[in-house]
Symmetry: C2
Subunit: 244 residues, 2 copies
DNA sequence: GTCTATAACTGGATAGAC
DNA sequence: GTCTATCCAGTTATAGAC
């Protein structure tokens, strides 16, 4: 039943992520540097294996610092996780807000649903493609949290809902006859499509026999806004009388 | 930073899922019953907290059987997980195949993209809504795995790709001018939208201020095929000359 | 088939030396 | 600020009684 023979769930680190005793990093310690090294390593490990799949010892090893420092700076393992999640949310959302401001300043009839969607997804996709491994890991982590029952929905709400409410409001301006329930469900579908992309699981590569690549930014950037804009238009177009 | 005060990552079981010493089950042991009880409990716990967030002891407690039985029947914790994942994939995919057979038997011009999508998503949504807590948990687990980097894509490939290839083939028949790359990407978006729904994180409830419910089967069933069919049509409609 | 007991180990966290 | 040493609760897994 197991194809690889190597359990993907074990705590063991694989060759590419482990750090040999001769630290891979320039041992760039010295106060703030250690703190950042811990966050970078934790970001990568949490994204790859989830909160419970990572140990404080792994983080210390990967960061090239003593594991006890994680407790010194962040008190608990959960503190490390929260710091990771918090670090990149503000810059990401700030750029989304900026693009949404621009759309809001334009006349309503010069803004398309695809424009609104692009303002929401492009800041994420652009960092995912060109922001370096830190952003890649962070966005994969967001994708995982978004699909996590129990606390996932609550966590996403806390960090990302304000900007989503602006997306809905702008979409309402583009599609004045739309019912709010339809807008929310379409946003939900958009969120799922975006986060599966950011998770970069490699499934589409295998499925397509290599014709598509999980990491192909232009392919996503050109298709996702167009696809989901059509979804918004189709679902909100009809007069839907009965709805919960 | 933590809103709830109660860590959602801890191994502690909450009141609704824990089992007091006076087992909640009728202690329905006796060979096969214990095996099934273990699978049911593991399914629920893995779905809620992921592989590493669950212990064999938790599973035994929740199932009302001795934890050592999990090893007796499944050898390892990973064996339990694989058995959970395997159990419900065949019946789900069998019904998808049946519905796809029906569509394939019809003339091409009487099959719409929404029909193809419905044949793929309805068997999952129907069980999610009316299949009981076991199916709910199983589908939430699939959603989590689908968005898991490293081994998630590989696992989904193993269990679900055959039926997806049929979906793509039927879609190709509906949209004969479509490029395969576009079809694969649109399936990818569909997969993300579907699995976020199955994860049922409660985010849309909070986001919409209660106007939408994560668990609203009719709301999803009427909108998802329509939304994603429009996405397929929009993306594949144009002649796209240059594509990786 | 089921459960008790325990082996063998790893987890988060901390006290205190440097 | 950093690291060593360590606590001890909790982990998977198994041997062997019943």
């Amino acid at each position: 039943m197991d194809a690889s023979g190597q359990s993907p769930y074990s705590h063991r680190m694989d060759a590419t992520t482990s750090t040999r005793k001769l630290g891979r990093r320039p041992k760039a310690v010295g106060g703030e540097a250690a703190r950042e090294a811990i966050l970078d390593a934790a970001e990568r490990l949490f994204a790859a294996r989830g909160f419970n799949g990572v140990t404080v010892r792994h983080i210390g090893e990967a960061a090239g610092v003593d594991p006890a420092l994680a407790h010194y700076y962040f008190a608990t393992k959960r503190g490390v996780f929260d710091a990771v999640f918090l670090r990149r949310a503000p810059p990401l959302n700030a750029e989304r807000e900026r693009l949404l401001d621009e759309l809001e300043a334009r006349p309503a009839d010069e803004v398309t649903p695809a424009d609104v969607i692009a303002a929401f997804v492009e800041p994420a996709l652009e960092r995912w493609a060109h922001g370096g491994p830190g952003w890649k890991a962070y966005l994969a982590l967001v994708a995982q949290v978004n699909n996590t029952p129990e606390w996932g929905g609550e966590t996403m709400t806390r960090y990302f809902d304000p900007v989503v409410h602006r997306v809905i409001a702008l979409m309402r301006r583009c599609l004045p006859d739309a019912h709010d329930v339809d807008l929310y469900w379409c946003y939900h579908f958009l969120s799922g499509a975006l986060t599966l992309t950011l998770a970069e699981t490699g499934r589409i590569d295998r499925l397509s026999g290599g014709a598509c690549a999980s990491s192909d930014y232009p392919a996503v950037s050109t298709r996702l806004p167009e696809a989901m804009a059509a979804a918004f238009v189709a679902v909100t177009a009809r007069g839907r009388a009965s709805d919960r």
